[in-house]
Symmetry: C2
Subunit: 238 residues, 2 copies
Amino acid sequence: MVSLKSIPQHKRLYEILRRHISEGVYKEGDLLPSENELCQLYGMTRPTVRQSLATLANDGYIIKHQGKGSIVHHLPREIGILSVSGTTSAVGDRKLKTRIIVKPHIIPWEENFMFALSGLEKESGCIYMERLRLLDDVPIFYDISYIANINLPRITSRQFENRSLFRILRDHYHIEIKGGEQRIKAIPASEKISRFLHLKRGQPVLHLERKMETNNPGLFLYSSIFCNTEKYSIFGRF
Amino acid sequence: MVSLKSIPQHKRLYEILRRHISEGVYKEGDLLPSENELCQLYGMTRPTVRQSLATLANDGYIIKHQGKGSIVHHLPREIGILSVSGTTSAVGDRKLKTRIIVKPHIIPWEENFMFALSGLEKESGCIYMERLRLLDDVPIFYDISYIANINLPRITSRQFENRSLFRILRDHYHIEIKGGEQRIKAIPASEKISRFLHLKRGQPVLHLERKMETNNPGLFLYSSIFCNTEKYSIFGRF
DNA sequence: AAGTTTTACTTGTAAATACAAGTTATTTTC
DNA sequence: GAAAATAACTTGTATTTACAAGTAAAACTT
């Protein structure tokens, strides 16, 4: 019995469980229904269910224990793909704001761009924007984004204020981040960065250069991120 | 036909292919033998072979393409789990040196340790060491390691000079790093750090606090790492 | 009552089979 | 010769079946 939308069953179940975990239907430490129960619930066979669970385990949503079951694992809150862990108190989603400094517009790619570009990317031009992200009204990230202008109609006219770039790409263009690579450095704050992040010049700033892969093989997102890590740390799993 | 050593077949094939990739039998961009060929070569069925390949893809060793095959993916050179990418030239393994600053010895855990500790860990005491790691004789990492003293006989008397802690744990104790979490900050160099990393006081330094999970469920490795990122960046995939 | 054994349930491993879907090279047709 | 159709590959999805191995609670024994 194949689904009408021709989306694989294992992927469908993966999305259902992932949503349930994100929305708190299953909480941290909870035991997921057993594989056989999931088979009955969703009308699949065990290998199919197991494939969903394997992907979830892989993405860190659950931890499997032989003879016991699949336990929901706590995932840190994310900002984009980065995540922030406060050193003093927990961080709520609603306190996060985004302010556009330079509106998205199309420019030619910089010479000596931080990553190597394909021919198609170079030809297509670059959608450029600068954003400042605040937590509790404290500036944390200064984010410069570069996207190749490939099949992204009307993106420069969209509303980015207080919205996630990743969510917009996902909802409107069905583009999802699959992974990527990054270089991390500690650098002294430049005049511009120190002004936006409310730091003194020369104070240590975390600098990330990232290249993100999407489900669209030729399309990558690039960003150069400057982080104020005085009060918060960047949190990550590996 | 079950293997004598009772190691799962899919895991066996995974290890074989991983070694072949690491040792350069298959190079970056090469096409791995097809799933059916691997079935014949190693006397397994396709689901088993596919499980090995799925794990390899997961770990980033290969990228699978439907209708095409599994392509070997380049993995950056690693130092521990961290990896370094030079901004100017490539980095060769042999230029990497480790110097012990504080020999491994057993101490009680610090009050207010950077991560929460289990009761067992607290009782067991802590194996502590400090190491300086150099690339081309330039100090890059100052690495403070903490390991719970659980089932690690004679570890304080082992030879760590110019050897990877991870390799020692793997070879002598069958402990492998499965993953972990980390917090990253940019901080000004303290007096001690600036001396070891050949920096001026107050210069930006990358600080990582990491908790690493092992195949031994109760055993974690902790480290506090200070990186000189003037010439090199920390490279990572996500 | 305390410890031991058994039982039931969990996930792990593995085979055999079938067809779908994407890629590439070959063959055919014009 | 060039474009189009075909064939022969590749990986992706899914079912069915069987047993192994780890966990935890129930039943049993002492």
